[in-house]
């Protein structure tokens, strides 16, 4: 729990004390990342996560609409391009790389083998944030999306799985607790009903802190609603495109990586991107496993980061 009245900056993540020795602070954020507003980058990350989940064909019984799939894939590409430009892509992949070395930590078997809510609901397209562990003890916030103005964003900065945490795909931030970030504006209004999930990361009885989460998410919604791309899209780099086409999105989904997909996937999202670019009808008969080849992925990431 945070001491009363403390407000934390997302960008200060590397400087915060870690709890109980089960967190590895990510690499110090680059200067470019620091200049982005925290709510913008969190919103963008959540949009990316949402999009990748939407592309997972293994959860669908009926062949999805091509137009929709293409539009979602294009959205993913746009986000990747922008994140690469401002350096946050590299940070994320470095954090992932750090998370993939569990040699020095043991993970409970039941955590590894637990089915996610999303995978368990066959035939339903999963709510994106049910994949993000909603079990007790997990301190991330739930995104409330029902035409609601209040939108809370999950923290997607990654830290290694700890035995105490549930089988969450996206783990608590480097503070060890739920996301708390610097308040951008304080409208002074607060709807307490939506603060339930964020209790853990807000000091008890502190109205101001509860307010700031609500206010920040509103701002985030406004920012996101009138979204502007911060940098103009660079001309597509064929080498980069080809590298990205092999990236398995389950790389960010640690649950997927550690447990394997529950149902045989018909096609991974990045296979879709690849097949779209080759202008042929998708060959769904060649099923690809959603398990990532970590060594190959590490190699790819090294190339990207190095370039």
């Amino acid at each position: 729990m945070f001491p009363k009245g403390t407000k934390r900056k997302f960008s200060d993540s590397g400087e915060e004390p870690v709890s109980a020795g089960d967190q590895v602070p990510p690499a110090a954020p680059s200067v470019a990342a620091r200049t982005l507003t925290s709510s913008y980058s969190l919103q963008r990350q959540s949009l990316l996560d949402m999009s990748l989940i939407k592309l997972q064909l293994c959860h669908m019984l009926v062949e999805p609409n091509l137009c929709r799939s293409v539009l979602i894939a294009n959205t993913v590409r746009q986000i990747q391009e922008e994140m690469t430009q401002d350096g946050t892509w590299q940070i994320m992949t470095q954090a992932l790389a750090a998370a993939q070395c569990p040699a020095d930590r043991l993970v409970a078997t039941e955590v590894l083998c637990r089915q996610t809510d999303a995978a368990a609901q066959a035939g339903q397209s999963p709510k994106p944030f049910s994949v993000v562990g909603l079990e007790e003890g997990y301190h991330a916030e739930e995104v409330v999306m029902e035409g609601d103005v209040e939108t809370e964003v999950t923290m997607s900065t990654l830290s290694p799985v700890s035995p105490q945490l549930s089988s969450a795909s996206y783990l608590a931030g480097p503070f060890g607790m739920g996301p708390c970030w610097e308040e951008e504006e304080d409208d002074g209004e607060c709807e307490e009903d939506e603060e339930e999930d964020s209790e853990e990361c807000v000091s008890e009885g502190e109205e101001a802190d509860r307010d700031h989460l609500s206010a920040d998410s509103r701002t985030g919604e406004q920012v996101f609603g009138t979204f502007e791309i911060k940098h103009p899209a660079p001309p597509p780099d064929p080498a980069l495109e080809e590298l990205f086409s092999d990236v398995d999105p389950s790389y960010y989904d640690l649950d997927t990586v550690l447990t394997g997909m529950q149902s045989a996937p018909k096609m991974g999202p990045y296979d879709l991107l690849e097949s779209l670019s080759s202008h042929g009808p998708t060959t769904l008969s060649s099923s690809s496993s959603c398990r990532s080849d970590l060594n190959e992925l590490d190699h790819i990431m090294e190339i990207i980061v190095g370039s």
């Binding site: 009926v62 609409n65 994106p128 035409g147 609603g225 979204f227 008969s285």
Partner: protein, 392 residues
């Protein structure tokens, strides 16, 4: 109040509603397409269960000429069945994506209906007579022993209760890799197009050597991650005059002059208040909803659907617009529809509805306007609403 389409003192009023009243909507009953035929006498609907229901307009009764006739069920048939693609291990939905009538050439009616993969040509014909007194078979159809026949007679045509039969005449299958989203009958009445997201198939192709691309340059200042999605066109309709074309994207309707392809001549905002909600609408997939649009018979007005069972009409001449609602509450016979309004500012006036209270599950995707009269058909999930102008 002055409505849209028809000049001064124009008001829309309720005429009929078809479909079950239960709160619990069966998935199969959800209406997926609505189409008047060329004369407006027939109104066809297709649903998610693969059925086609055709309504016929009854003549006005001589006793009550102030009432327009009603639409009543004329024919119901199962057009498509669910299939399973074993190669891809995926289901093929039986949902009817589009119905298009062919112009009538004889007593029978022809229509094209399509699901995601297969287009069928249906013949709908009436039978009100049958032959009786066959020589070679009994009344109950059993064949007679020819050696037993001692005299011949001419079969007589006897009247019978009207039967409307639908029979499939052609089936066009395996022609599309992706989902068929539209079909369009050519003016020569012999060829038609079918389109999926990537390709258009021409059936009895006639090569044309000119093509036009209608595209509005993007406004760079309003670019966002959702720009491409919301500019994606969900419906295209030619005007009856053939001079204009209308496109529907997620937030607006645009009218294009076919002689000018660099920008639309008119743009109408359908529900601009959703622009700040695009993230939520992306999350719940509503941003991918494909709304249709339609012209009235004289091309002076256009109509399209929105959420919360609202639909919008725009008068191209007066530039007035109106928002109406298809709901059971306003379904009293000949009850005038009250204009609705969504409040976008901070203060919500009485009778206005705030953006956050809109029901995004109640979406009006399919609407149709009678080709000659001021009669409209609006599909609200599993209910078909028919509205007409108030005849004074």
């Amino acid at each position: 109040s002055t409505g849209v389409a028809g000049g001064n003192d124009f008001q829309w009023c309720f005429s009929q509603v078809k479909g079950a009243i239960d709160e619990d909507v069966a998935e199969a009953d959800i209406i997926s397409t609505v189409e008047f035929n060329y004369s407006g006498e027939l109104l066809a609907t297709g649903d998610k269960g693969g059925r086609v229901v055709i309504f016929q307009h009854e003549q006005e009764s001589k006793n009550r000429p102030h009432l327009r006739g009603e639409y009543n069920v004329y024919s119901t048939f199962q057009s498509h069945e669910p299939e399973f693609d074993y190669l891809k291990s995926l289901e093929i939905e039986e949902k009817i994506n589009k119905i298009r009538w062919l112009p009538q050439q004889n007593a029978a009616h022809f229509l094209l209906s399509t699901n995601d993969k297969t287009i069928k040509l249906w013949k709908i014909s009436e039978r009100d007579k049958r032959a009786e007194g066959y020589n070679l078979k009994d009344e109950d159809g059993r064949l007679r022993d020819p050696f037993r026949i001692t005299s011949l007679r001419v079969p007589v045509l006897m009247p019978m209760d009207l039967m409307v039969e639908a029979s499939p005449r052609r089936i066009f299958a395996n022609a599309h890799t992706y989902h068929i989203n539209s079909i369009s009958v050519n003016s020569d009445h012999e060829t038609y197009l079918s389109a999926d997201d990537l390709r258009i198939n021409l059936w009895h192709l006639e090569i044309t050597d000119r093509s036009f691309i209608f595209e509005e340059p993007e406004d760079p200042s309003s670019r966002s991650f959702f720009s491409e999605i919301i500019s994606s066109i969900s419906d295209v309709k030619f005007s009856h005059s053939g001079r204009y074309m209308m496109t529907r994207d997620y937030l607006s309707v645009k009218v294009w002059d076919l002689n000018m392809e660099n920008r639309p001549v008119e743009t109408y905002q359908v529900h601009e208040y959703l622009r700040s909600k695009l993230c939520s609408l992306y999350e719940n997939d509503c941003i991918f909803d494909k709304f249709e649009c339609c012209w009235n018979g004289s091309d002076s007005a256009i109509m399209t659907g929105s959420y919360n069972n609202f639909f919008r009409m725009f008068d191209r001449n007066t530039r007035r617009d109106i928002t109406l609602e298809a709901s059971r509450e306003s379904s009293k016979p000949r009850a005038t529809l009250k204009p609705r309004k969504v409040s976008t500012g901070g203060k919500r006036k009485k009778d206005e509805i705030s953006v956050d209270s809109l029901d995004f599950n109640k979406k009006i995707l399919h609407t149709a306007w009678h080709p000659k009269d001021n009669v409209i058909a609006v599909a609200a999930t599993n209910n078909l609403y028919i509205f007409q102008d108030k005849i004074n």
